[in-house]
């Protein structure tokens, strides 16, 4: 029983990170109807920004970690807006395939630039957050795992607030429903889309820092696997659906953790992608998604 609960805790912590990245994928899809493959590399940039800022901060302080988090989120928001402006804006009316290929191109560009600028060998992320192991009876939680779950929950609540209770959030939902009509009622689509990218990328940046605080070894290709898994999580929960992304992330993280701890640990990555195939076969809209049929 203890093992089960401990694995559940591990799974929640891992799932929270997948959820944060999945939120970015789902938001961009919701507004623009395309998958931003460069998202996982924005996650990597967030971790590196955190690394460089963390070199100048004292170790083991809570405020230090918050500074790193804020800086990384800001930097990634700007990066996201820049990518949107330079790579995706021009392709707004273009066939989806073109935008998809561009997204893959941006992803490869970020990865290769990262390797050229930072070097491909893994670096140790500075231990900026005070790591304490708290014991609840037989269970052990590390303070960084708690930080991940706490920050992810807080960001999710903040996101729900922004999307459902602010003007810009309403504008985002309007653009996602019908871009042309949104323009007709006076919404500046460009601004709204930029804001969506900024928000999604800021979440990826936060995910990057939290991931690096937990697993302190970063390298330019670190975003590939978590990004793919978060993408699966977003699809699992229903692409375009915010609570769906969070749910998908948690479910995937927990399933992966349980498989890792069992005798089938060799297949833990395969399970994640197996889930994707099953979902697409049996419930393509995802767990919380609605399958919209175009009625003529």
């Amino acid at each position: 029983m203890t093992e089960f609960l401990q694995q559940l805790l591990n799974g929640l912590s891992l799932g929270a990170i997948y959820a944060l990245i999945a939120l970015g994928y789902t938001m961009v899809y919701g507004v623009l109807r395309f998958i931003n493959f460069a998202h996982s590399d924005v996650f990597m940039v967030g971790a590196f920004v955190g690394y460089f800022v963390g070199q100048h901060l004292p170790h083991s302080t809570v405020w230090g970690s918050l500074v790193i988090l804020a800086t990384a989120m800001l930097a990634c928001a700007l990066l996201g807006m820049l990518i949107e402006r330079l790579a995706y804006r021009r392709l707004r009316g273009a066939p989806t395939l073109n935008v998809l290929i561009t997204a893959i191109g941006v992803s490869l560009l970020l990865e290769s630039t990262g390797q050229a600028v930072f070097g491909a060998e893994p670096r140790t992320f500075p231990g900026v957050f005070p790591v304490k192991n708290l014991t609840l009876g037989p269970l052990v939680i590390s303070s960084s795992q708690l930080l991940v779950i706490g920050v992810a929950a807080a960001l999710l609540v903040a996101l729900q607030f922004i999307v459902f209770r602010t003007r810009i959030g309403t504008a985002m939902r309007a653009v996602s429903l019908n871009p042309k009509a949104a323009q007709l009622v006076g919404i500046n689509n460009d601004r709204v889309i930029s804001f969506t990218f900024a928000l999604g990328s800021a979440l990826a940046g936060a995910g990057g820092v939290l991931y690096a605080l937990n697993y302190p070894s970063i390298d330019p290709l670190m975003g590939v696997m978590p990004g793919l898994k978060a993408f699966v999580a977003a699809i699992l929960g229903g692409i375009g659906n915010i609570p769906g992304a969070a749910l998908g992330g948690l479910i995937l993280g927990t399933v992966e953790t349980f498989v890792s701890g069992s005798q089938f640990s060799t297949y833990k990555d395969a399970i994640a992608f197996g889930v994707l195939i099953l979902i697409l076969l049996f419930r393509p809209a995802g767990l919380l998604g609605k399958f919209t049929v175009e009625k003529v």
């Binding site: 401990q6 491909a120 893994p122 192991n133 014991t135 890792s260 701890g261 990555d269």
Partner: protein
């Protein structure tokens, strides 16, 4: 008329001069090296490259081999699968090397070995320990011990020194070295009466081992065997302590040997053990002389096993070329196969019928952030 005269007289003359100039540069013996200078196992490639470079420079300072200088051409395989065969193909086809030195990681040696074998160019791996590397063909050699021996050494160490009867094994499925070493360890450990209570896997590049470690903790073990590479090993030790697995020795093989183990693992790798090919603390004159030479050449850095084996692989090759008295691939291969009691830094090197070297192993423990020599185990 004048232009035709030009064509007939001047261009052939120019061509002849160029050919002569090219021939003059041709007197160097070209040796190819492929190593992981960047990427996840950069520590290995950098270390073995430095050892090899030191050997080549020493040989050239002493006049070269067969009166010719040695030209070392190095290619980086970035620790990525797929790059080694490309690098080796380039060295053989474009640079026309007479022999290849490399690689440290068994997976990458296995990738490049068929290319060298097909081209009939001898390849010497400094420290790949998976037996399948030399099984590839008659042109593939190594100057280190192989994993059946290393697995046995570690199994005996776990039983006799750590007094562990119940051990967990955490293998990296993406590396041939890890899978092979795990298998040999398990075979010997269970044959000696031990029990493998937990046999779990991970992939290279994984950062999170909480799930596997939680299962291991629940199984109740006396020691954890991690036959993988240093990046993941350091994280595993860290996370094991985070999860409250304390007082359980964690040990591994020569894949742990890199300064990054301590950089990433910090206080969590204190008291861990691993087996490797040599230690700079061994008091023999050969080892100490080598350590001094290396420190003088590379800013005071102390050579680890990869550097020592890189050095030995180049020296063994040079010795073989001398005995073959030629740079023909076939003759070098035959000379290599006949290597007997060559005095290497890592011990007397004799190449056996399977083209492996029989060497002793050393057990290292981490103390105060330093790699301390614990004991030698002879074959």
């Amino acid at each position: 008329m004048t232009s035709r005269l030009l064509n007939i007289l001047v261009f052939p003359a120019l061509f002849a001069v160029a050919a002569l100039a090219a021939h003059a540069a041709d007197t160097a013996i070209k040796i190819g090296e492929y190593a992981s200078l960047t990427g996840k196992e950069a520590a290995f490639g950098q270390s073995s490259h430095k050892g090899t470079l030191l050997a080549i420079e020493e040989l050239n300072d002493a006049g070269g081999v067969l009166g010719r200088k040695l030209d070392l051409l190095t290619e980086d395989d970035q620790s990525k699968p797929g790059e080694s065969s490309t690098a080796v193909r380039k060295l053989i086809a474009r640079d026309k090397v007479v022999a290849i030195l490399g690689e440290v990681a068994s997976s990458r040696s296995l990738e490049a070995a068929p290319v060298c074998q097909a081209a009939r160019i001898p390849m010497i791996s400094p420290s790949s320990t998976n037996p399948k590397v030399t099984d590839t063909g008659s042109y593939i050699f190594r100057v280190c011990f192989i994993d059946p021996f290393q697995g046995t050494v570690l199994a005996k160490f776990a039983k006799d020194t750590l007094h562990a009867r119940h051990v967990a094994v955490l293998t990296s499925v993406s590396s041939a070295y890890s899978v092979g070493l795990a298998k040999f360890f398990k075979d010997r450990f269970t044959a000696d009466g031990g029990q493998i209570v937990s046999d779990l896997k991970y992939s290279e590049g994984d950062k999170d081992f909480h799930a596997q470690l939680t299962a291991i903790k629940a199984a109740g073990v006396e020691a954890i065997f991690v036959p993988g590479y240093y990046t993941e090993a350091a994280l595993i030790c860290k996370q094991a302590h985070e999860l409250g697995i304390l007082g359980v020795p964690i040990f591994g093989g020569d894949g742990w040997e890199a300064p990054e183990l301590v950089q990433i693992g910090g206080a969590d790798v204190e008291g861990c053990y691993y087996s490797t090919h040599y230690s700079p603390q061994i008091p023999t004159p050969a080892v100490q002389a080598f350590v001094k030479k290396f420190q003088a050449r590379f800013d005071g850095q102390t050579p680890d096993a990869m550097a020592a084996l890189g050095y030995d692989s180049a020296m063994v090759l040079a010795d073989a070329i001398k005995r073959a008295a030629s740079t023909d691939g076939r003759k070098i291969r035959d000379a290599l196969a006949a290597t007997k009691n060559f005095p290497g830094v890592t011990g007397q090197t004799t190449i056996d019928a399977h083209r492996n070297a029989t060497k002793g192993a050393v057990i290292i423990t981490v103390k105060d952030g330093q790699f301390n020599f614990l004991q030698t185990v002879e074959p």
